[in-house]
Amino acid sequence: MDEVSLIAAARQGRVDAFNDLVLAYQQQVYNLAYRILGDPASAADATQEAFISAFQSIARFRGGSLKSYLMRIVANGCYNELRRRKRRPATSFEDFGEVDEEANPALINGHEGPEEYAERQEMARVIQAGIETLPPDQRITLVLSDVQGLSYQEIAEATDVPLGTVRSRLARARGKLRDYLRIHGELLPAQYRLE
């Protein structure tokens, strides 16, 4: 069944049809939530809530890109979570340990050895730390653009801002991340450093 048929069935209240859509998009939705929020537990909660919200409001979906629709929902949820954290800062238990959130041996590519995999995970930690220094609106725009690969127009629809705002937010986010890497560039594995 194609996506349009699945959406039509989901609008009739068929959960199994919607679950097919969940399976198709859950990796992207969770990845977006994880890159914005920075911890797996919050990302999982945001992802689950986004799918529930999407199913409950699927009747309001008027066609177009389902990916953008889902990204918009999860981005709004993550934004609200970041605002909540700003109001009531709390330290996660995971911050006390050496939990490797990125590590997943199952994701090692066939052509990637353990050493390369470890270096890639180290690079991901440094970049994730840099992303988390960004303000929420710039962070969401950067992740939507450079992690999820959304176009300027899709980002504008997902975040409900004009194209010019998307352009300026993205430029500021990239500029700040570049400055962050100038300072913390030595933390990157050698192969990821800028010569």
Partner: protein, 320 residues
């Protein structure tokens, strides 16, 4: 220094925006040509572009975060009623409108408050003068209409007692005792101050008056006796024997007859005197009270609108 820093920061942001859009192929043909020309001649700009490109490449090279579990929905979700309501429209106009309303309400509040303070500071209570006229206007209605005979008595009293003397507070006279009266000093003042009797009310007084001012029933020795004698006496003689006490025994025939007063009017008069405060101010303070109500209402409105505006701005800023 700060301005220079701000200008440099702005120029840097503009340059980054140009470079970022260039990386995404979002520049127009003209912008792209100009930037390429600058890059060819400006090594520092090339370094910036390279650093920006490196940062973007690293973000794009991030490995996907492994999902901890599946996020499929339980079948029970199908039984849940789905809200059919439409999405609430964003009220982008609410915050500016509430802010403007807050400004207007605050301005009105300040103007009203300042006006009140200025007027009250200039001549006492701003509305105190307005509070008095109703009393004076009302007093004639409450007072007895003096007969020509009572005017004569007043004239005699004024001749005999030129100086005004303070009037003691009225006290009750035990029934059966000989009533005494006090001559009012300012008998011409229709609107007597509180605690004082009007000349009409003290008309029975005037001990020194020797000639009977009225024939037959009015010439009775005391008002009490007259009241006992004639059925209409209580209404005509007022309550002078009960109020007008001062240790002066009235001369027989000193009680003068006054114009008839209805029982209701008399009771109202007595109640007013016993309260010690005239009824006039009850209507006279209305403007001042109204002024206070307006001040409080404006103040509360300004406060409420300000809170609503803050809430609206926060809600508007909350939507990414």
């Amino acid at each position: 220094m700060g301005r220079l820093f701000t200008r440099q920061e702005r120029e840097r942001e503009q340059r980054d925006e140009l470079l970022s859009a260039y990386l995404d192929g979002q520049l127009s043909a003209g912008e792209q040509a100009r930037l390429k020309t600058q890059l060819a001649t400006d090594p520092a700009l090339r370094v910036e572009l390279e650093a920006l490109h490196h940062a973007v490449a690293l973000v794009r090279d991030l490995p996907p975060a492994p999902i901890p579990r599946n996020f499929i929905l339980p079948q029970a979700m199908a039984a849940r009623p789905r809200p059919a309501r439409r999405a609430r429209p964003r009220r982008a106009w609410a915050a500016p409108l509430l802010t403007a309303a807050t400004a207007v309400a605050s301005l009105l509040f300040v103007v009203v408050l300042a006006g009140d303070l200025l007027l009250s500071g200039a001549g006492g209570r701003a509305f105190a003068p307005a509070a008095m006229p109703p009393k004076e206007a009302e007093a004639p209605q409450l007072a007895l209409q003096p007969s020509p005979i009572s005017e004569e008595v007043e004239a005699e009293v004024e001749k005999m007692i030129p100086a005004a003397t303070p009037l003691p507070m009225p006290t009750e006279v035990p029934p059966g005792t000989v009533p005494t009266v006090v001559v009012e000093a300012e008998v011409h003042d229709a609107a007597a101050p509180e605690g004082m009797e009007t000349p009409e009310q003290a008309v029975g007084g005037g001990g020194p008056i020797e000639e009977p001012a009225a024939p037959a029933p009015a010439a009775s020795p005391t008002v009490a006796e007259e009241a006992a004698a004639a059925p209409t006496a209580p209404a005509t003689a007022t309550a002078v024997p009960e109020r007008g006490v001062g240790g002066v025994e009235p001369t027989p025939g000193a009680v003068t007859e006054v114009a008839p007063l209805t029982l209701e009017e008399e009771e109202a008069n007595a109640a007013e005197t016993e309260r010690g405060e005239p009824e006039g101010p009850a209507t006279g303070i209305a403007p001042a009270l109204l002024w206070r109500v307006v001040e409080v209402a404006l103040g509360l409105s300004a406060l409420g609108l300000a809170l609503a505006a803050v809430w609206a701005w926060r809600a508007q800023r909350g939507n990414p």
